[in-house]
Point group: C2
Chain length 143, copies 2
DNA sequence: CATAAGAGTTAAAGCTACTTGAGCTTCAAG
DNA sequence: CTTGAAGCTCAAGTAGCTTTAACTCTTATG
């Protein structure tokens, strides 16, 4: 049932790379696994599950230290699942804030490109209106 | 016209911090300014304009090395404004890709939070269905 | 004119989350 | 038994600054 996994196999199944796995071990996010005679790491299903959880949290954008918290919630019977919800809520809020920033950025960049098309086709650097606009504080490229 | 600016004044006007300005100088993104007798840096309007341009590019998400390119476009009469447009286009594409990722992330996190609300109110860590879901590969928390 | 606060100076280390490289060993297949 | 892939360790590198330590300079006030 609990087939042995090499670090490479664990990597394939979890979506992490072997160096990343060693790094997680180094920072104490993964336990130190058993070793074979030659020194190679041996993992089991529990490790795969743990690492998958970690990777999913990371994909969710949780920073490592928060992942550490989340992992400890799993292990610790005294702590509540609502902690996860609260962490996820915070994370959701910051994702939304970041998206708002990116939307503004997208709009500005879109204008920049459009202006380049319209006003600067092939013109030389120093005379380009766009570049002047970029250097002017407090307003966007669409003057 | 070209009033002298201290590094702090330059920082206030550009939105950068003094350490960041020194850092830009160190990596050759800003010229080395004149110094007063005591060694303090003295800047002029040209520096403010340049730094503002750099900060705006950074706000646009351009990496430093691309900003270096953009700056050289401004200075170099032989290079075309279309280069700026092309760089901005690439940048726009990667901003959009990032937004797509974030939208998926937002949806998943929203589901996670909602599930926590619905199914796990106050439940203990090890028994929580949500946490099991997070550890299960290949599917989202809404099983 | 003295002094104290605040702003400036340097070089070096720290940060996140890994990735890359060097140099070597072990394992699995043929 | 050979060979090539995969594993090992330790150290350094990455981006883009920020922070720290230990000083020095400028400026406003008494």
């Amino acid at each position: 049932m609990d087939r042995a996994l090499s670090i490479g196999a664990l990597a394939r199944h979890s979506g992490a790379t072997p160096p990343t796995i060693r790094y997680y071990e180094q920072i104490g996010l993964l336990r130190r696994p058993d070793r074979r005679d030659g020194g190679h790491r041996v993992y089991g299903e529990a490790d795969l599950k743990r690492l998958t959880f970690i990777r999913r949290c990371r994909d969710f954008g949780f920073p490592i230290e928060q992942v550490r918290d989340l992992v400890s919630v799993i292990e610790d019977a005294d702590r509540s699942c609502t902690e996860v919800r609260d962490l996820a809520r915070d994370q959701l809020a910051s994702v939304r804030a970041r998206m708002t920033e990116l939307r503004e950025l997208e709009a500005s960049l879109g204008l920049l490109v459009a202006d380049c098309e319209a006003r600067c086709a092939g013109g030389p650097g120093p005379d380009c209106v766009i570049l002047e606009d970029l250097a002017a504080p407090g307003r966007c490229c669409a003057g």
